[in-house]
């Protein structure tokens, strides 16, 4: 089946899979966003424990999606893996540190004899929520703004600034997307809490908090979008494969790929409906906000990835030398490896199905104080 596809078709198929994983990851970052709201929404220990426990049952999905996203990128586009991870060293290391301290914090937070104290683990969760979201957003933004690296004739890469990725923080567009992801993750977290926590005080605060995060999200996202659609983009000549700057490249991509445009606009609308419906129709229709905005988030991020990689575009541009930019064609694995991996990808629907099934089984009922009292495993 897959072996009969052209190399380009397989590269596009894998870009779609990587994009989907990236999109799911951004949605699941609501766990990180929620971690930054523990003290904002939880005013006593019980409330905070409720919030941590409702997030704690989902943190592994985010973590696993991040690891799988990295693994899938490595397997399908190894030149990106070697160039970005080996080059933008500090950005990736900071992200990794943020995730290392998250993984233990849930399990250790409430355990007796936890050495550092509950507050420290809650601080770790906050750091993970802040640093993880902002840096992941900024890192994705470099797909549109470029990075300073070179690739030699043997495809060994070298970063061409001494800051090894930290320079990305000086770019307003990167910062805008980083902060947009941060506030989006908090917005989604509020919607998730509203759906899954049963505590009147938390509900009141969550309802107020929703627009406090949704409005900055929209401001930063629209700023990023304005930059994206109005700036020159990194185009690839279809025949010569030469990379050149094309005015309004990403706007052109949107217009020339109507399916992507529809996905993008649908996503934006769904995100907004999820927020507005919950904010203004709280009593009757707040339960589904997370699913509407979550689905919208997946669609928007998925289409952003497609804008970066499809339609003759360099998805990881080099501003040091345009011709060293990475495209889905010049950075991918071989036809054989992509074929083998594609067969493995057929398991993805099965994985999604059992995640959906178990997710539902564990969240049929909102979490409340009585459940914590009965539960044998508490975060």
């Amino acid at each position: 089946m897959f072996e009969n596809l052209s190399h380009l078709a397989l590269q596009q198929y894998w870009w779609v899979i990587v994009s989907l994983l990236g999109a799911l990851l951004v949605f699941l970052l609501f766990v990180q966003g929620g971690q930054t709201l523990i003290y904002r929404l939880g005013k006593d220990d019980l409330q905070r424990t409720l919030l941590v426990n409702v997030l704690g049952r989902k943190w592994e999905f985010t973590f696993t999606t991040l690891v799988t996203f990295g693994g899938a990128f490595f397997a399908s586009f190894p030149l990106f893996y070697s160039t970005s991870f080996g080059g933008a060293y500090w950005v990736w290391m900071l992200i990794l540190f943020a995730f290392v301290i998250q993984a233990v914090s849930y399990e250790f937070r409430s355990k007796p004899g936890n050495f550092l104290g509950k507050r420290t683990y809650e601080t770790f969760l906050f750091i993970n929520g802040l640093v993880g979201t902002v840096l992941l957003g900024a890192a994705v933004s470099t797909f549109f703004t470029g990075s300073s690296f070179s690739v030699n004739e043997n495809n060994f890469s070298q970063w061409e600034t001494p800051f090894h990725g930290l320079e990305a923080a000086l770019n307003i567009q990167n910062l805008s997307l980083g902060l947009a992801v941060f506030f989006l993750s908090r917005t989604l977290a509020v919607l998730f809490f509203i759906q899954n926590v049963n505590h009147p005080d938390i509900m009141v605060r969550a309802r107020k908090q929703l627009l406090f995060d949704a409005i900055p999200f929209l401001v930063f996202f629209l700023t990023f979008l304005a930059f994206l659609l109005l700036k020159d983009g990194f185009a690839v000549h279809p025949q010569t494969k030469e990379v050149f700057m094309e005015p309004f490249k990403y706007l052109h991509n949107l217009l020339q790929m109507p399916v992507v445009a529809i996905l993008f606009l649908s996503g934006v609308v769904l995100v907004l409906i999820g927020i507005l419906r919950t904010a203004f129709c709280f009593e009757k229709c707040s339960d589904y906000g997370i699913w509407l905005s979550g689905t919208g988030t997946v669609l928007v991020v998925f289409s952003l990835f497609l804008l970066a990689g499809f339609n003759h575009t360099a998805y990881y541009p080099s501003v040091f030398d345009l011709q060293d930019s990475l495209t889905i064609e010049n950075s991918s694995s071989s036809h054989y490896t992509l074929t083998a991996m594609s067969y493995v990808s057929l398991f993805v629907p099965l994985v999604l199905a059992y995640i959906f099934f178990t997710w539902r089984a564990l969240t049929r009922k909102r979490i409340d104080k009585s459940e914590l009292e009965q539960e044998s495993h508490i975060y």
Binding site: G71, F85, F97, V344, I355
Partner: protein, 513 residues
Amino acid sequence: MDPSLIDWSRAQFALTAIYHWFFVPLTLGLSFIIAFMETMYIRTGDEHWKRITKYWMTLFGINFAIGVATGIILEFEFGTNWSNYSWFVGDIFGAPLAIEGILAFFLESTFIAVMFFGWNKVGKKFHLLSTWLVAAGANLSALWILVANAWMQYPAGMHFNPDTARNEMVNFWEVLFSPVAINKFLHTVQSGYVLASVFVIGISSWYLLKKREEMLAKRSMLVAGVFGLVMSVFIIVTGDHSARLMAKYQPVKFAAMENLYEGQTHAPLVAFGMLKVNESMEEHKKEDFIFKLEIPNFLSYMAFLDANAYVPGIKDLIHGNPERNIMPTTEKIDKGRVAISALKTYKEAKKSGDTAKSDSALTLLNANFNHFGYGFLKDEHEAIPPIKLTFYSFRIMVGLGFLFVLLFIISLWLVLKNKTANKKWFYYSAICMIPLAYLATQMGWMVAEVGRQPWIIQDVMPVSAAVSKLTTGSVQVTFVLFAITFTVLLIADIKILLTQIKKGPKEGGTSHV
């Protein structure tokens, strides 16, 4: 390349791997032990089994979280610190990592939530299934990463593509089912099963010593004793097999592990031995032993199932042995340099459109590619791994392995004969075995990884060619940060575990704040 950058990058990877491996083996083994216990609960309906299951599940959870934390670093360090490697073999190496994520990590992370939080939310049988799926997921993830590691020890199912300047996969099944991969997977997960069994017996012994939770202790000891003993038999078989695979595919590592300088037929195995302090590669000889206790012919038999077989020593493998048709390393280095130079010529000729030149360069490259990696070595001595560490690590691992067999036999005998009372000598011994089990598994990885230096991919790429172009200072900073973070988290992990053990299980099965 700056040698200090290579050493610091190595040190950082070693640090991460060592810390990660503190937690993984317990996850691998305890997941099955818990699943056995819960199965007993479902089959008998005895609430004591549920209580026992939940107790060990708590310890499992504490250990699991920190294993996950240290694991994410390892995956990404292939990119951050070994970026040339990531490209050079990413076409092959990346696939198992991605499959691990898709097939194993999601299985594990999805059902672990049901395992911990599903007691009151899903049916008993579904809960049991979830517990077994967590064990399957954990072990499946081990399969894929160990396939990847085995491929680094014995690169199979690939060819070199000069146009992309990388190795590409040509046969997925050869990668997955290479003899080294199968054996490495089995031997490694079995080491986790043995460690988890020792862990459970050690903690159970502490309860018996304190005369607390005797039912929990005896039942746990029974399950762990049987599991540990059965797995010890298998681990001896796979360990024996890995020695033969090593002798065949990584003879220098095998010679280093045995400190065998000059090759010989009827080679004896040094069961015990102590090496002199000085160790210059050129002077390194058999006489460097201060003392040794040998088993005649056993090394030849272990390596080739033939007591008469010739086992090459370090001298033969480095300086060559024409009688045995062993090529000197210097010749391999020359061939490697020819291959590297031919690749460069091929690239230039391709760029200038000189087909004849590129064809001849390609022929030369193909003829010498088997020794491509040697072209990056400074001299033949760089091909010798650290001998002392490899030699001692192997003996500590094997010695402790046999000690654990004794532990399992005695613990089973005591439980089955109902003679566990007032056996202080046994309780103390079993408790002391816990750190020794961790030591044994770490030593196993020392043999595997230190013994294959300088190669990141055996004969194809040395670590010096694989490292990312970073400043040494950057890697030093992250090394220190990792060292501090992991050490603090390890202390927290041990403190929480000890507190939890002291508290023991509550009626609900676990205890928490």
